[in-house]
């Protein structure tokens, strides 16, 4: 009988908030619409002061998820990785479409997200429990 081997994979990313602010300023809608879902945009854009740090944290989360997915040079629309803001104050990752398929193929059972920002930096860690069949 095939036994499942449980593993944890982790991805982390660090983003400079002022660079995100610069992108918001220079590329505006082109930047925002290409990377973030409508729900993410709604949460991030209510207040222009906190917008750069919120967008930066979400960008870091998407990149961290990409790293945890251990893709071997595969292209992925960043909007298929979505950060949802929970009422309790923490964030969770929701994968759609291509990201969902890739996660399933990699054996992802569940994943967890943690976000932080301080000063000019935002960072995110994605940890996923992975189940792979063994012989």
């Amino acid at each position: 009988m095939a036994e499942a081997k449980m593993n944890v994979v982790v991805g982390i990313d660090l983003v400079q908030i002022s660079q995100v602010a610069s992108s918001l300023h220079r590329l505006a809608d082109a930047y925002v619409n290409r990377i973030f879902t409508a729900a993410e945009i709604a949460y991030c854009s209510t207040n222009p002061i906190v917008a750069p740090s919120r967008y930066a944290a979400r960008f870091a989360a998407k990149e961290a998820a990409l790293k945890a997915l251990r893709l071997d040079d595969q292209g992925l629309d960043l909007r298929t990785i979505e950060v949802k803001q929970m009422p309790g104050g923490w964030s969770e990752l929701e994968l759609h479409g291509a990201a969902r398929e890739l996660a399933d193929a990699a054996g992802w059972v569940g994943c967890s997200l943690s976000i932080s920002h301080e000063g000019d930096y935002a960072t995110a860690v994605v940890a996923a429990t992975v189940q792979t069949p063994t012989r």
């Binding site: 400079q16 908030i17 002022s18 660079q19 602010a21 610069s22 918001l24 300023h25 220079r26 209510t46 207040n47 222009p48 002061i49 906190v50 750069p52 104050g89 932080s116 301080e118 000019d120």
Partner: protein, 855 residues
């Protein structure tokens, strides 16, 4: 700047100052054996303390202030903090290599005068103590070997100053006084924070052409077990009426602090304008945080008590900087604005700041001069909050450089991080302010690199092209960022592309026509001249009479480029000769008074001629800022205001040419003389344009009157010949015979009867001779308590009439009066005299004329 009522200041004791050899141990304060201690005002600098202590202290102090360590000391005492209180020592600015101790506890070592620091001393301050500051000798730090720069900035004495975040004032021997900034130049404060510690306040205002929005994000910490229940944002108008309100959402961040954020919409927000173009409606913002907790000793038993955070000044406007195709054009609220004004210098070169009254008077003089922009320049310092408050109130746009100039600044990680922090702090001080119009990376950095021969790749520096703009975009997305004061074109200082330092008419001795030929686009600095002051300025240098031009005392106030074989007196002399056909050296030697008198109006005439080119509707010029506004030391400095803030002759010429409603001539050669009329105001103007031509200084030979209606924000150009009808050689370009006239006088007279601008054109040259009798008369009449009207009449043309009325300030000076004309000037009492007495002197008259006594 924001303020919370939960933060209260605790007074510190008096400060004293002394010096030791570099790296010497802390000197003793108590026993008499140590070095001499001097009382020192804080905020203040070593230079200002020595100046206040008197000439003996200045003599005893080391000649080079940067060669020793300076020690400041004061006593500190505060009631022990309660459980819901914190005590912070706030150092708003320490120049430049600073260490601080509380008794024997070393608080920090910090480098950089432009960054403020706060230290939590809650657990350390128990009873009376001593606060010590040491400012290490900068010379020692400069002597350490460091990599060489890719280019040199000749005006700066030591290129390695680039490694230190400190002002270049006092370190540019050619034009700033020899007092480098050393000491606690910004306040040192002991602050008690009760119940709520407000750590950070961010505000942004935006305007969409109809409604405004105010966004805030406050980071705060409640103390002593208290809890923040709710927070509300209110926006108030100039009358204190609430025009918008919203509840803020509160969320805890990872560190346990509370972030309260939200946006309030201000329906129908009234837009702020530069004063030349409209009004300055101002708003304020306020956040009220409701706090409650279980410490009955501090709170009323029934619950929440509010903490009020005042957010500071808010204004609504849009700023656009168009830079496509080499342009550099500013539009406010969608309206293109010709930006003109001057570069700002600190009001006191020793303290690097000024008294409140000095700020008010100087910025009022800026507004009165028709200037709508000042540039805070890279070699100086970030200005005080009051400066920005007044610019907001008076409708003066601010072009704000970051404090970098000319040098090849490092880009290592630590330096860049320090610059980002410096920029962030400055941006917090400027938040919400409508007057902030341009944020500029540095002064002349790209230009200096190019002039020194560095390759084009070196002109674009990541610090000023990427790092700083990113920080700016985050804090002030509504303010355009410009990389360097001279930028754009085949080389950064190319006048016709982007911005430039324009000294063609000026140090480069180009003819006046060069102002048009260069096709100056935006001169972020220009027209730097050694403007001759009135004799009255010398009293402030404790001199009983004005030093003779050319003496060392005179030259100490005249700017020069370091290492050059000429100075700015020579530049002024060149134009004196060009305008009046007079040999300046001969005149200076034989008639020194006449030399200075002509010198006074020379620079004024040149500035007027340059702006007359640049303000024409068809000119490519979008703006020009004079180098600079106010002298740092008494003398013929670059300021149009002298070192006491009084106007020089040049100021009056500038004021007349920069009026929002203005009339001026241009000489179009074979096309004849043209009149240009500009109305920048939001209301229409109706009246008459009057032109008169005179021959031999007296006989009228041509006249035209035109009813004129000027729509708001409009300009017109009119041919004088067309106004006169037929052919008149209005510029004496055809020269078919003797000149038909030697002066043309134009005036705008509003339907209400007021004189709304005057202009003169001299086709055969400005009057250089002197006559015996112009039939000049001057009379005074009282208008109100301290206000008089001085009426000047003359039979023949009176050119550049100057007023000598001690104890009174006039609203015009160095003006011309046409033959048979009348000019009324308002006088305001400013001194002890009760009645105006004195003389008026026309430049083309041999002798002054006494003002007739009042009836």
């Amino acid at each position: 700047m924001w303020q919370s009522d939960s933060h209260r200041e605790v007074a510190l004791g008096d400060w004293s100052l002394t010096w030791t050899a570099p790296r010497a141990p802390r000197p003793s304060f108590s026993d008499g054996a140590g070095p001499p201690w001097i009382a020192a005002a804080v905020p203040g600098t070593v230079a200002s303390a020595l100046r206040a202590a008197g000439p003996e202290s200045m003599r005893a102090a080391p000649g080079r202030l940067d060669s020793v360590d300076w020690w400041y000391r004061c006593t500190v005492n505060a009631a022990p903090p309660a459980s819901d209180e914190r005590l912070l020592l706030c150092f708003d600015g320490l120049a430049t290599l600073a260490d601080a101790w509380l008794d024997d506890v070393h608080l920090f070592h910090a480098e950089g005068m432009f960054v403020g620091r706060a230290v939590d001393v809650t657990s350390q301050l128990r009873g009376p103590g001593e606060l010590w500051l040491r400012f290490a000798a900068l010379d020692e730090a400069l002597a350490v070997r460091r990599p060489r720069p890719r280019w040199r900035a000749p005006m700066i004495e030591n290129q390695q100053l680039r490694w230190f975040r400190t002002t270049l004032l006092g370190r540019t021997p050619g034009w700033s006084p020899p007092w480098p900034a050393i000491g606690p130049w910004r306040p040192v404060r002991l602050q008690r924070r009760t119940a709520v510690d407000v750590q950070q306040v961010k505000v942004q205002a935006s305007w969409d052409g109809g409604d405004g929005a105010v966004s805030v994000a406050l980071t705060l910490r409640t103390l002593g077990g208290l809890v923040a229940r709710a927070a509300r944002l209110s926006v108030l108008d100039g009358e204190g009426q609430v025009v918008a309100e919203t509840a803020l959402s509160c969320a805890a961040d990872e560190g346990g602090a509370l972030v309260a954020s939200g946006t309030a919409r201000v329906a129908g927000a009234a837009p702020w304008w530069p004063h030349t173009h409209g009004g300055q409606p101002l708003y304020t913002g306020r956040v009220v945080v409701a706090v409650a907790g279980d410490t009955p000793a501090h709170l009323p038993p029934d619950g929440a008590r509010p903490v009020v955070v005042e957010l500071g000044r808010i204004g609504f406007r849009t700023v656009a900087l168009a830079s496509a195709e080499g342009d550099c054009a500013i539009a406010i609220n969608g309206v293109p604005v010709f930006c003109r004004g001057a570069c700002w210098m600190p009001l006191d070169a020793a303290t690097l700041t000024g008294e409140a009254e000095a700020y008010r008077r100087t910025l009022a003089a800026v507004r009165d001069a028709g200037m709508n922009m000042v540039r805070v320049v890279g070699p100086t310092v970030y200005e005080a909050d009051l400066f920005h408050d007044l610019c907001d109130e008076l409708g003066i746009m601010v072009w704000q450089d970051f404090m970098f100039a000319n040098m090849d600044y490092p880009e290592d990680t630590a330096f860049v991080a320090a610059v980002q922090e410096e920029a962030r702090q400055a941006l917090v001080r400027w938040q919400g302010r409508p007057s902030l119009t341009v944020l500029c990376g540095d002064s002349e950095g790209e230009q200096q690199a190019a002039m020194w021969g560095a390759p084009p790749a070196a002109w674009h520096r990541p610090l000023f092209r990427e790092t700083l703009p990113a920080v700016c975009h985050e804090a002030r997305p509504d303010v355009p960022y410009w990389p360097s004061s001279a930028s754009g074109g085949a080389f950064p200082h190319q006048p016709s592309v982007g911005s430039t330092s324009y000294y063609g008419v000026g140090a480069y001795l180009r003819p006046l026509e060069d102002a048009r030929r260069s096709e100056v686009r935006f001169a972020s600095e220009c027209l730097g001249f050694a403007n001759v002051p009135e004799d009255s300025v010398w009293a402030s240098a404790r001199l009983t009479e004005a030093p003779r031009a050319h003496t060392p005392q005179w030259k100490s106030g005249v700017p020069r480029d370091l290492g050059a074989g000429w100075d700015f007196d020579d530049v002024r002399d060149f134009y004196l000769r060009a305008l009046f056909g007079v040999d300046p050296v001969a005149l200076r030697s034989t008639e020194p008074e006449r030399y200075l008198a002509l010198g006074r109006i020379t620079t004024g005439e040149v500035m007027e001629a340059a702006f007359a080119e640049w303000r024409r509707a068809r000119s490519t010029c979008r703006g020009a800022l004079i180098w600079f506004l106010r002298d740092l030391v008494p003398g013929a400095g670059w300021g149009v205001l002298d070192a006491t803030g009084a106007p020089k002759a040049a100021y009056h010429y500038v004021r007349r040419i920069l009026r929002p409603l203005a009339i001026f001539f241009s000489d179009e050669g074979l096309n004849g003389a043209w009149l240009h009329v500009v109305n920048e105001r939001p209301d229409a103007w109706q009246g008459t344009l009057r032109v008169r031509l005179y021959r031999d200084g007296e006989t009228q030979v041509g006249a035209a009157d035109l009813a004129l209606a000027l729509p708001p924000r409009s300009a017109r150009e009119l041919s004088v010949a067309a106004l006169l009808g037929g052919f008149t050689d209005t510029t004496y370009a055809y020269r078919f015979g003797a000149p038909g006239h030697d002066v043309a006088a134009a005036a705008l007279i509003s339907d209400a009867g007021g004189a709304d601008g005057e202009a003169y054109h001299f086709p055969t040259g400005r009057p250089a001779g002197r006559e015996g009798d112009l039939g000049l008369e001057a009379q005074v009449a009282r208008r109100a308590q301290d206000h008089f009207a001085l009426t000047v009449r003359c039979k023949r043309l009176a050119y550049a009439v100057s007023l000598n009325v001690p104890g009174f300030v006039a609203d015009d000076d160095y003006f011309s009066v046409p033959p048979g004309g009348v000019k009324t000037v308002l006088l305001r009492r400013a001194g002890a005299s009760t009645e105006p007495r004195g003389h008026v002197q026309a430049m083309n008259a041999r002798a002054p004329v006494r003002i007739a006594a009042m009836e």
